[in-house]
């Protein structure tokens, strides 16, 4: 009996320690807005996740410190470690949704897919900024999911458009080979339907190179295949440890780096730096600011990082993924602010937040007001279009830092939008009875 008691006590202590480690305890106050942050600072994807988590946390924390929150109401922030694991992500969701969560940012397509059916039931929107289910851009089918500023299909169309520009026109892609190396998970497989459609339309051959999670740091086979197939361009949809390894392997087989283009999640500073001098010329799409020369980032440094309220290393402020995390929190903050304006309430609910996100209008004037002039392309969400298919630019690694290598490139919305709508209808059919939209449109 004594042993059983000891075991029970030990288990209780271990569980207590585990839970307190996994989630920073917050006291949900009635005069605050609660924002859970699903992050991953550990595991195989921590290399990317840490910077995103820091950026997200620091911007919202800065609003608390500098402005006393949003609309005079403090934000209660709580991080929950998912390890990029769908099961843990759902556990985080279930553990935090009852605390008055306003919005979820899963930072994993796998977790996003799990949360999409729950969002409408629990009345808490999911913001998958530039990732997740592309079809969720159709607000008439997915009123609770937002993937502003772009879907993966938008991104895939931009990269093909850019390659077309390099070749002197999309018509010149006929007969070319474009390789697609991707994390063999929901995330990496997401743009394949669009790439296949574009391959058919423009006559290029799409060569696919899947990289399993277990093979992220062991990609020599994939790159030997690339060497043999001799694609004219390589496109990458990588994340975490996959990115630096892929860039190193590309350097190793002497693939021309100026013809190697990553999605916006393969655009980390550490990713490119891993390739050393050989990585010069590597390109990636981006939709958030390059560098730290923005007044809002100065405020983050002053009010949060220098004040010791963050785990961010000051030298990483302005990195691509850090800035991406900041942009994510800008959208959250603007969603809250808009919801407060629409409802007249200071402390809002998930339903209010959904309306705030649906009425989001981050124009140039507002970006400047936020101290983020030029940090992102102006973005607007409508009830029909929850992504907006906003322009994206290409950045290039010069061996030390990223520099902008193109102007803003519009996605091929004429092609993407009908596909999104078709995919959304198919999703609803497969998941019948999928609820018809009854939510009011704030626009």
């Amino acid at each position: 009996m004594k042993t059983i008691m000891q075991l029970a006590l030990g288990t209780a202590v271990a569980l207590g320690v585990g839970l307190s480690g996994a989630m920073t305890t917050v006291a949900q106050a009635e005069d605050s807005n609660y924002v859970p942050l699903l992050t991953y600072r550990t595991g195989p994807f921590a290399a990317s996740g840490i910077h995103i988590a820091n950026g997200m946390h620091d911007y919202l924390k800065m609003l608390n410190e500098r402005d006393g929150g949003i609309g005079g109401v403090k934000l209660e922030l709580e991080e929950c470690e998912t390890g990029y694991n769908a099961q843990k992500g759902v556990e985080c969701y279930e553990a935090t949704k009852g605390k008055g969560a306003l919005v979820y940012n899963p930072y994993s397509t796998g977790i996003t897919l799990q949360l999409i059916p729950k969002a409408g039931v629990d009345k808490i929107p999911v913001l998958s900024m530039g990732y997740g289910l592309s079809a969720a851009a159709d607000g008439s089918v997915f009123p609770w999911v937002f993937n502003v500023p772009d879907t993966y299909w938008d991104g895939a169309s931009v990269v093909i458009k850019y390659i077309g520009e390099q070749e002197g026109g999309l018509e010149n892609l006929k007969g070319k080979k474009i390789g697609y190396i991707f994390l063999d998970a929901g995330y990496g497989r997401e743009p394949i339907p669009l790439l296949e459609q574009l391959a058919e339309k423009y006559g290029f051959e799409l060569l696919q190179y899947p990289v399993g999670v277990k093979e992220m740091q062991n990609q020599s086979s994939q790159w030997l295949n690339v060497r043999r197939d001799r694609p004219d361009y390589m496109v990458m949809w990588g994340w975490g440890a996959m990115n630096p390894t892929a860039i190193k392997e590309a350097v190793k087989i002497r693939f021309p780096m100026n013809k190697f283009i990553g999605v916006w999640w393969s655009a980390g500073d550490d990713d490119a730096a891993a390739g050393g001098d050989g990585a010069k010329g590597y390109k990636a799409m981006n939709f958030s600011g390059v560098g730290s020369d923005f007044p809002a980032l100065d405020d983050i440094k002053k009010h949060v990082v220098d004040a010791g309220l963050s785990s961010t290393d000051a030298g990483t402020i302005g990195g691509t993924l850090y800035n991406r995390g900041v942009l994510n929190s800008v959208i959250i903050a603007e969603g809250i602010r808009t919801a407060q304006e629409l409802t007249g309430k200071k402390v809002i609910t998930g339903e209010d937040m959904r309306m705030g996100l649906e009425a989001l209008n981050l124009d140039e004037a507002r970006l400047e007001e936020l101290g983020l002039k030029g940090f992102a392309h102006p973005m607007k969400v409508t009830c029909e279009d929850h992504a907006g298919s906003h322009p994206v630019f290409i950045q290039e690694w010069d061996g030390k830092t990223w520099r902008q290598a193109s102007g803003w490139i519009e996605p091929m919305t004429d092609l993407v939008r009908p596909m999104l709508e078709k995919a959304a209808a198919e999703y609803a059919e497969k998941n019948a009875p999928w609820p018809a939209r009854t939510e009011p449109c704030p626009n």
Binding site: S221, L224, R228, A274
Partner: protein, 317 residues
């Protein structure tokens, strides 16, 4: 279809001999690296019958300690020596805290203990070094970096990375040293005695505790060498722990108790998965590497259930 399976791959090998050579080289390097990881498992299994689930995280932990010390201003070679010391302390700690209290417990209990050790090292490693990946200090350790290209005809090219050559040399030195250690030294012979029969070894005055600490230390050194080599090819991050489980099919194939088995098994898996992926993978959409190694191992097991070099177990009832 039959042509694609039985003829075309060989035609490709004939028509692009330089590429085939490159595939063989990559298979050899992968095999050597798998063998290095497998060695760590074999050492501990041989001495204690424990499948050390923590071997993968030991690779990460050793690599992170080395780079972490250097990042804090410790010169590379001093950091290397200190890391060896840390692995020694870890081995002593594991023997005292994990192994000693569990003597004579069923193997499954010891396996669970190493799973616990894995999670402890993950948490401790992340606490001390953070979760961010680190660049291996390849040049600072005097390891070669560049590459040498051999050109054949107009388009033929075989590229050998110097770090891969170094990995092969280090692996050979390591295996030779372990071979001498096991066969020619008093401690090595004691270790083999423990591996054969714990109680018989105890009865002739061999200290189990000492042997276990030594063998965990040796596994720690192998983990350090593996961490340096894998880290130089990609980076040192917690994702490396996953790669370590590539050693499982190697162990199934080579046997859990044989050092030559780890080497031969590693090479068979390395060559097999690269050739399979490059010449037959395309038939099923690629990405077959992760499971092909297990298929190869299972095919071998059909004929030698104890593995290529494993000891045949005969139990009389």
């Amino acid at each position: 279809m039959l042509y694609d399976i039985f003829i075309d791959p060989f035609v490709q090998m004939y028509e692009m001999p330089d590429f085939f050579l490159q595939v063989l080289w990559e298979g050899f390097v992968a095999g050597i690296l798998y063998a290095l990881i497998a060695l760590g498992f074999v050492l501990i299994f041989k001495a204690s019958g424990v499948f050390n689930f923590a071997q993968g995280i030991m690779v990460v932990f050793a690599g992170l300690t080395l780079v972490g010390l250097h990042e804090n201003g410790v010169p590379a070679y001093v950091a290397l020596l200190l890391t060896i010391g840390v692995m020694g302390v870890l081995a002593y700690g594991v023997e005292r805290v994990v192994m000693r209290p569990l003597v004579n417990q069923p193997d499954i209990i010891l396996l669970m203990a190493t799973i616990g050790l894995t999670y402890f090292l993950i948490g401790f490693g992340e606490f001390v070094f953070g979760g961010e990946p680190k660049q291996m200090i390849t040049e600072e350790l005097g390891l070669p970096t560049g590459s040498t290209a051999f050109e054949f005809g107009e388009r033929g090219l075989v590229i050998l990375q110097h770090i891969d050559i170094a990995a092969a040399v280090i692996a050979v030195i390591m295996v030779a040293s372990l071979g001498i250690f096991f066969n020619k030294t008093r401690i090595g012979r004691a270790l083999r005695a423990v591996a054969d029969d714990h109680q018989a070894a105890l009865s002739v005055g061999i200290s189990l505790n000492q042997i276990w600490a030594i063998v965990w230390f040796a596994a720690g050194l192998v983990a350090l060498a593996t961490g340096i080599m894998w880290g130089a090819r990609s980076d040192v991050s917690f994702a490396l722990e996953i790669v370590a489980f590539k050693a499982l099919p190697v162990l199934i194939l080579g046997g859990f108790t044989s050092i030559p088995g780890a080497i031969v098994g590693g090479l068979i898996i390395g060559f097999g998965e690269k050739i399979g992926e490059l010449y037959w993978g395309g038939l099923v959409g690629g990405g077959i590497e992760s499971w092909l190694a297990y298929i190869i191992a299972l095919i071998f097991l059909l004929f030698r259930p104890q593995g290529l070099f494993g000891e045949r177990i005969i139990e009389r009832i």
